[in-house]
């Protein structure tokens, strides 16, 4: 390291401290709002307010004992898993198609495929409502799953696309020359090599569905409740600390997903170094 071999000038030292301070402020700005809600889950008060007088597990217990929340948790995982599965298949296929050499309209198609990432979600939800209503898909789980699959697939396109950027397309040619039909070549050669990207995309798609509330509010029937929807209505009606308990569960899920993504990234790097 160059820093250890050369003494720093006072100015360099000062700018080093300034950078560290700025980075710390940025981190606080990003994380503080998320952390602010969590302690309330361990409050023994009746309302979602600071200060906390006594800590207790009563709201956590209430969360896990509640029939209503259990249904919401089940629905969230069910919708998340199913929509992530659909998004993964569609997104992977799109990414593989887009990774091939240039063709007419490639940029346009890429833009369209990624559009759910940038289109305002409310507009998307209203549009879905009018699109799904005549098809009888409003107030159905199918409708919500499809909506979430569409929202999740761009994540898969991006992560699989990133994996494919380092993929040697000669490998597919080699597989073909060795007698493998295209689907078999994909399954035995391309898929194993881009699998970290596929799984990362699937986790992102799941996360996108797991905390999505706008399309659910528009499309779901009154009894079709998910965790974010339950929190949303809870905030309007009761302001009970059980909402904080629910956020703790959601945070825990998100952290598990994040760790999984990180582990996959390392695995992908290892594979790339071996290749």
């Amino acid at each position: 390291m160059s820093q250890s071999t050369m003494p720093l000038t006072p100015l360099e030292r000062l700018s080093g401290w300034a950078l560290a301070g700025f980075a710390a402020l940025t981190a606080i700005f990003l994380i503080a709002p998320i952390l602010a809600i969590l302690p309330l889950g361990f409050s023994d008060g009746e309302f979602l307010v600071y200060p906390i007088r006594h800590f207790s597990m009563k709201w956590m217990e209430a969360f896990f004992a509640s029939e209503k929340w259990a249904v919401a948790v089940k629905n969230s995982f069910f919708i998340g898993a199913l929509s992530a599965a659909i998004a993964t298949v569609l997104g992977t296929m799109a990414a593989v198609g887009l990774a091939r050499h240039d063709f007419f309209g490639k940029k346009l198609i890429t833009g369209l495929v990624l559009s759910p990432l940038v289109v305002p979600i409310v507009i998307y939800a209203v549009g879905l409502y009018f699109f799904f209503a005549p098809l009888g898909l409003t107030q159905t789980y199918t409708g919500i799953v499809l909506a979430h699959a569409a929202l999740g697939s761009p994540f898969v396109v991006v992560t699989v696309g990133a994996s494919l950027a380092g993929f040697d397309h000669n490998l597919m040619r080699a597989a073909a020359s060795l007698g493998a039909p295209p689907m078999l070549a994909f399954r035995r050669v391309m898929l194993p090599l881009v699998l970290p990207g596929v799984v990362t995309g699937a986790l992102f798609a799941f996360a996108a569905s797991f905390d999505e509330v706008v399309t659910v509010l528009f499309l779901a029937a009154p009894d079709q409740r998910t965790i974010p929807r339950e929190m949303f209505s809870g905030l309007r009606e009761s302001l009970s600390p059980i909402i904080a308990a629910a956020s703790i569960v959601m945070m825990a899920t998100a952290i598990v997903l994040l760790i999984a993504v990180e582990l996959l990234k390392r695995r992908a790097e290892r594979m790339r170094n071996e290749a």
């Binding site: 000669n170 040619r173 073909a176 020359s177 060795l178 007698g179 035995r188 170094n273 071996e274 290749a275």
Partner: protein, 376 residues
């Protein structure tokens, strides 16, 4: 440079049945520039054919069309009786070795070699046996359980070869397979590929831009330039009797003298250079007037006493003498010409820089070509 070995003459390929036919094959990507222009070529069964040419000459495109990774814009390629335009690559049964080896990085060496057998639904016992035999063939039995990244470049290339041969294809294509290896390993692998070709009776199509490699390995060489085959012949004929100036200068080393044709007597033309030097050369690709490029191989330039029997000699001065171990390269400056002569290092008297010297060449060894068809 190595002396070319006339390997083509040793085996009778003239009567071998045809395996591959290119019939009027053209390829263009944009409808304007043709990468390959109405190409006709036949490849005999058991032949080692090299496609030689500078990059962008169309040789790799030809190989890719044969493998099925590129589709001809017009024309047809036949493999035996099959018209290949209706066969996807995985149904062609052609073995291929890629420049970057293209081994599957997530599979072990044994799994890589087993791949073509497994996709053909071969039972496990036969697969295992064939993989073992293939590894023995390339003399790497100890690497079966390793990953490709754990092997050296030369080892990876041998595994790629084993994988391309294990399913016993009749035809094997190689796309600059030795491009990434160092010189010594290259020469060793050239020998190994050549002996595998002989012992297995394979038909090989080999793409390279290295003319030494082409000369030492091939039964026949097709020299590509600008999407055309300029000459297709066995190495000896290609080296000693190139049919146009590009082939003459691309294959092997050569001296080139540009001038105007000032006389023609039968098959011999007289070419006068800008400095006024008159050279007599065999008329290969020239008429009886206009400009000409006279090409002479360095080993055919006779220097000093060796030049005394010639009709015409030129006086010059030795500019430099470079020792190459087995031979000397004598650089001579004379009348505006820069000439390189190759001499045996065992000559009794080696010329020294600054020496006045005479040199010349026999008319048969000086070949006159159209300069327009000489430039690359």
């Amino acid at each position: 440079m190595k002396k070319p070995v006339a390997v083509g003459g040793e085996r009778d390929l003239a009567h071998a049945p045809t395996l591959v036919t290119f019939q009027g094959v053209s390829k263009t990507y944009d409808g304007k520039v043709h990468v390959v222009k109405s190409l006709d070529l036949t490849i005999a069964k058991g032949e080692f054919l090299t496609l030689l040419g500078p990059s962008g000459s169309g040789k790799t495109t030809c190989l890719m069309m044969l493998a099925g990774f590129e589709v001809p814009t017009s024309g047809e390629i036949y493999l035996g009786d099959w018209a290949l335009s209706k066969k996807p690559p995985h149904e062609r049964g052609i073995g291929m070795v890629f420049q970057n080896y293209a081994l599957f990085p997530h599979m072990t060496i044994a799994e890589n070699i087993a791949f073509p057998l497994e996709v053909r639904g071969m039972n496990r016992a036969s697969v295992k046996e064939k993989v073992t035999r293939a590894l023995d063939m390339v003399r790497l039995p100890q690497v079966a359980d390793r990953k490709p990244s754990q092997l050296s470049g030369g080892q990876q290339q041998r595994i790629a070869l084993a994988r391309a041969l294990v399913f016993e294809p009749e035809l094997v294509l190689m796309d600059e397979p030795l491009g990434a290896l160092d010189k010594q390993l290259r020469e060793h692998m050239q020998y190994e590929i050549r002996s595998l070709h002989m012992s297995l009776g394979l038909t090989m199509v080999y793409v390279t831009h290295d003319q030494t490699e082409a000369l030492t390995m091939s039964d026949r060489i097709a020299v590509f330039a600008g999407g055309h085959i300029r000459q297709c012949a066995d190495p000896r004929k290609l080296y000693e009797e190139p049919s146009d100036g590009l082939v003459a200068t691309f294959v092997g080393e050569s001296n080139r003298f540009d001038g105007a044709i000032t006389g023609r007597d039968g098959d011999v033309v007289t070419v006068t250079t800008a400095a006024g030097t008159r050279l007599r050369a065999a008329a290969i690709d020239v008429g009886s007037e206009g400009s000409a490029a006279v090409i002479v191989r360095p080993e055919n330039v006779r220097v000093g006493a060796a030049a005394s029997g010639l009709d015409d000699t030129i006086a010059g001065r030795v500019a430099d003498v470079v020792y190459h171990g087995d031979h000397l390269q004598v650089h001579i400056a004379a009348e505006g010409l820069d000439v390189v002569a190759k001499q045996s290092a065992r000559d009794v008297v080696a010329p020294r820089p600054g020496d006045e010297i005479v040199f010349g060449f026999s008319t048969a060894h000086a070949r006159a070509y159209d300069p327009a068809r000489t430039d690359h």
